[in-house]
Each structure stands twice: as structure tokens, then as C-alpha cells.
């Protein structure tokens, strides 16, 4: 498999990606997760204003063959969600790191980002865990 793991992002063991921009992080699911799921047909997003802790369910991504929860990688308040995904879930397949983003979270504790993997660590994680 040719992994697609951008260098400027952080990653979780549940295959979410995180892009930091100041006090805000944007969250989506990785190319690996997308490849596992196949054609995404439904995306459930959190409500704007919702406050989440790490590992709480942020939403879910459902493909033809499976459903997978997406977890909050950090604690914070959901300030924006990618509502077009409701009607166009295929963006998750087509551009997981761009149009397929799911939610933007205002960081409660920026130190939590240190617990996430960088691109090199995530690639290593994929090699170890997913063969």
C-alpha cells in the first residue's frame, strides 16, 4: 500500500489526522482509514458548540461495507463542522486531508498535541500494526 501521510499533520492511533492553526485544530480521517472503509456513503458530524474530551466520539463515517467512529483527538469545543459532507460524503474518499475534513476544534489544552504522532511516527505505526 502506498501510504499517503502528509508531513505537516499530527496523527492518532485511531487514524484521525489533526492540523494545527494557532488555537484551532482541524480534524479528519487518514488516507489509510479511507482505504480501509472504501466508498463513504454517510458522515455523521458533531454539533457546533459541543465540548469533547479526547477519545469521545466526534462523529462517524459509514461506508458501503462498514461503519467507523471518529474520535476527538484532543479536548476542546467544536467551533465548525464540514456540513457539505452531509450531502457529499464522497469528499472523504476523494480528498481526505482537504475537502474531507470533519470538524474544527478550539483547543482547551494545547499540550495534548504532544501526545499525538508526527508523520514519521504514524508511518511507523502503520507498518507495525497494519502489516
Amino acid at each position: 500500500m502506498s501510504e499517503n501521510v502528509p508531513n505537516d499533520l499530527l496523527y492518532t492511533e485511531d487514524h484521525e489526522w489533526v492540523r494545527q492553526e494557532g488555537n484551532l485544530v482541524t480534524v479528519g480521517i487518514t488516507q489509510f482509514a479511507v482505504d480501509q472503509l472504501g466508498d463513504v456513503t454517510q458522515v455523521d458530524l458533531p454539533n457546533e458548540g459541543e465540548v469533547l474530551k479526547p477519545h469521545e466520539v466526534l462523529g462517524s463515517v459509514e461506508s458501503v461495507k462498514a461503519v467507523s467512529d471518529v474520535y476527538a483527538p484532543v479536548s476542546g469545543k467544536v467551533v465548525k463542522v464540514n456540513s457539505p459532507l452531509q450531502d457529499s460524503p464522497e469528499y472523504v474518499n476523494e480528498e481526505p486531508y482537504d475537502g474531507g475534513w470533519m470538524a474544527q476544534i478550539e483547543l482547551t489544552n494545547p499540550d495534548e498535541l504532544k501526545g499525538l504522532m508526527d508523520a514519521a511516527a504514524y508511518e511507523e505505526f502503520l507498518k507495525e500494526h497494519e502489516g
Binding site: D35, G38, D39, T41, Q42, S60, V64, K65, V67, N93
Partner: protein, 371 residues
């Protein structure tokens, strides 16, 4: 994957061909099979509905019954009427246990008056063969030819047009559920049946296992220009469920009867003294407590195997989803599940518990998709 725990899955003669095509392979009932190719389930589904899909179904089992009492033996095993078959005619049926539960769903092919072929589900080959031998092994020769037999399915509205250049067999006059033994496709000896599991017109081609890869490639080449594609198990499931064809292990089990499953059209009580007949007669006379209902989701949500079904008027759990998916062609999320008979009527409402979200669904009769 924890590879150490179980025996490795079995492979079909087309395993390397799938890998070369970039298929995603999964263990399905003990078989390493393609779930989808790089174009994805939705594209494969669409290709089958609009052009042709080519399916590796070599994992399915082929059991031959031969001898002067072969017809009698097969009739003892199956609920449909074997006596109505003639040479070159096939039929869908089930085999039951003495309680009327379904041992497997099958297609019986009459090759000759003393030769029948039964095609069984891959996961049930060992169980079925044992059942067949135990029950009727004294009546005729029963041979499990699954390992040496390949099977490729060629399904879709353009199947006949695409297959025609590969064979001199009279495709245009071959009717549904009929077959031609001893013809050639792409220069190899095959049995050619007009059967399938997608709700489309199409063919299933039995071959010697060593010829499977040659035929697979020839069939792919024959349909590529019209947009035909190899199709994996993922789209096989969406296609069969849209056509409301049952899947053994999900919709049909040892614990469900053909009457409950809506397969009463393959139960011919006058056919003979088949196994399960008495139990099914009793169930018919007593009335069915539960039935397999087809439903479309009204709310947002995809029903999945095992999700609880509730009665909206009482809130009580009344059943479980046995199959559920996106219906790419019908544009709705669809499913099947056993519910109390009054809730299985068209128009009845159900609540499907989609991972904690109660989601409304409406019962519909008949196939979700008709070509």
C-alpha cells in the same frame, strides 16, 4: 490481523489474478476473496447494473449425484420439485433439516435423468456434503467436485452481447435457469448456465479449476470496452440485497425455515417425502409467528447485520437485522430482518437501532430492485 490463531484461509484459482488487479482481499467464511477492486464497491455495483460484472465464485461448492436413484436422492434432500426438471433445466431450492430449518440454499441442475449437480454455498461445502451422504448416500453416488471445479459469474445487461464472441453456444435461446453442459467458452470446455445472484441477466460458467484463470481473463477482456469490471464480494452483497436474494448465514440459517424466509415458492409439499416436510406442514398449518421482512430506511442510517429491530408502538425489541446495506441503484438504505408476522406486512413501520439511534424504517414487499 492475528495470523497465528487460525488455519490460513483457502484460495481460489483466481487469487493471483485478484492481487494483480489490486483487489482488497479478506477472509470470507474461510476463503481469501476480493471484497473490492481499486474502483470500489459503488463503481462495481454500477458496472453490473449497466454493463457487466465478472465475479469469482470458484469458492462455491459443486456436488454431483449419479445413479438410477439420483433423482429420488435429490428429492429426499430438497423442498422444491425435482420431478419438474428436465435435462438442461436448473432450479433454486433449499435443503432442510428434520425441524424444517434450512441446511443450505442451493441450485439443482439436471444434467441427465441419472445425473444431478447441486451447487452449494462455499461456507457450507463440508456440512452439506456430510448431510447429503448421511441422508441419501445409500441411494446413489455422491461426489464433491468443489476443489476441481471453477465457477465464474458474468452478470449484467450486456452479458450476452459480451459473451457471444467467446462462444458458439446458442446464448440467445438459453433461457433463465437453463444450462448447456459441454460447450466451449474461450476455447475451454465449460458448462454454461443462465443463472446468477445479482438481479440481472447473466451467466455462470463452470470450468475445470486449471482453466479458471484463462476464462477469467478472457471474460474481463470481453467486457472492458463496454465498461465491464471485475466485481468483489462487497458489490455482490449490495447487488443481491437490492434484488432481495437471501444470503445463507445471515438471512437463512439452520434455525429459520423457508416459510419464515418467504421462500414458500420453493416448498412443494406434493413433491415427495423430503426431509423437513412434516415440520414445515405443521408450521404452515399453525401459522407463521415470524417472517423475514424487507425494509427501507426512512431516517438517516444504514442497517447492519445484528442491529436490533423494535416495534415502534411498544418499543419492545422484536427482531434483528439479518442483512442491511446501502442500495446504490435504488437510492435507499435497505435491509432484511425477522419480525413478528403482523409487522412483516407492507407499510408496517419498524424502528432499527442504528448504534443507539432509533431510526424509522418501512416494510416493503418484493425486490427492492427489478431490472
Amino acid at each position: 490481523m492475528n495470523a497465528a490463531s487460525a488455519t490460513p484461509p483457502r484460495t481460489t484459482p483466481l487469487c493471483q489474478a485478484h492481487r494483480r488487479l489490486g483487489a482488497k482481499m479478506i477472509d470470507f467464511g474461510g476463503w481469501l476473496m476480493p471484497v473490492n477492486y481499486p474502483s470500489g464497491i459503488l463503481e462495481e455495483h454500477k458496472a453490473t447494473r449497466t454493463a457487466v460484472g465478472v465475479f469469482d465464485v470458484c469458492h462455491m461448492g459443486e456436488v454431483h449425484f449419479r445413479g438410477t436413484r439420483a433423482a429420488e436422492a435429490v428429492q429426499r434432500l430438497v423442498t422444491n420439485q425435482v420431478g419438474k426438471l428436465y435435462d438442461g433445466r436448473a432450479m433454486y431450492t433449499v435443503a432442510c433439516n428434520p425441524k424444517g430449518g434450512i441446511v443450505d440454499d442451493l441450485i439443482v441442475y439436471r444434467v441427465g435423468p441419472e445425473h444431478f449437480l447441486i451447487v452449494v454455498n462455499a461456507a457450507n461445502i463440508a456440512k452439506d456434503y456430510q448431510h447429503f451422504v448421511e441422508q441419501v448416500g445409500a441411494k446413489c453416488e455422491i461426489r464433491n467436485a468443489s476443489d476441481e471445479t471453477g465457477l465464474i459469474s458474468f452478470q449484467g445487461p450486456k452479458a450476452q452481447a459480451c459473451l457471444a464472441p467467446l462462444t458458439r453456444a446458442p446464448l440467445a435461446t438459453l433461457k433463465p435457469f437453463h444450462f448447456l453442459p459441454d460447450v466451449e467458452v474461450a476455447g475451454r470446455p465449460v458448462w454454461l448456465a443462465r443463472t446468477g445472484y445479482t438481479g440481472e441477466d447473466g451467466f455462470e460458467i463452470f470450468c475445470g479449476a486449471p482453466d479458471a484463470e484463462h476464462l477469467w481473463q478472457a471474460m474481463l477482456d470481453a467486457c472492458v470496452s463496454v465498461g465491464g469490471k471485475p466485481v468483489g464480494l462487497g458489490a455482490r452483497d449490495t447487488l443481491r440485497l437490492e434484488a432481495r436474494l437471501s444470503l445463507y448465514g445471515n438471512d437463512l440459517t439452520d434455525e429459520t425455515t423457508p416459510l419464515e424466509a418467504g421462500l414458500d415458492w420453493v416448498v412443494k409439499f406434493d413433491a415427495g417425502d423430503f426431509i423437513g416436510r412434516e415440520a414445515l406442514l405443521r408450521q404452515r398449518d399453525a401459522g407463521l409467528q415470524r417472517k423475514l421482512a424487507g425494509f427501507v430506511m426512512l431516517g438517516r442510517g444504514i442497517a447492519r447485520h445484528g442491529y436490533p429491530i423494535h416495534d415502534p408502538s411498544t418499543g419492545a425489541k422484536v427482531g434483528e437485522v439479518t442483512s442491511g446495506t446501502v442500495g446504490p441503484t435504488v437510492g435507499k438504505n435497505i435491509g432484511l430482518g425477522y419480525v413478528p408476522a403482523p409487522l412483516a406486512r407492507a407499510g408496517a413501520r419498524l424502528l432499527i437501532d442504528c448504534r443507539g439511534k432509533p431510526t424509522e424504517a418501512e416494510v416493503v414487499e418484493g425486490p427492492f430492485y427489478r431490472r
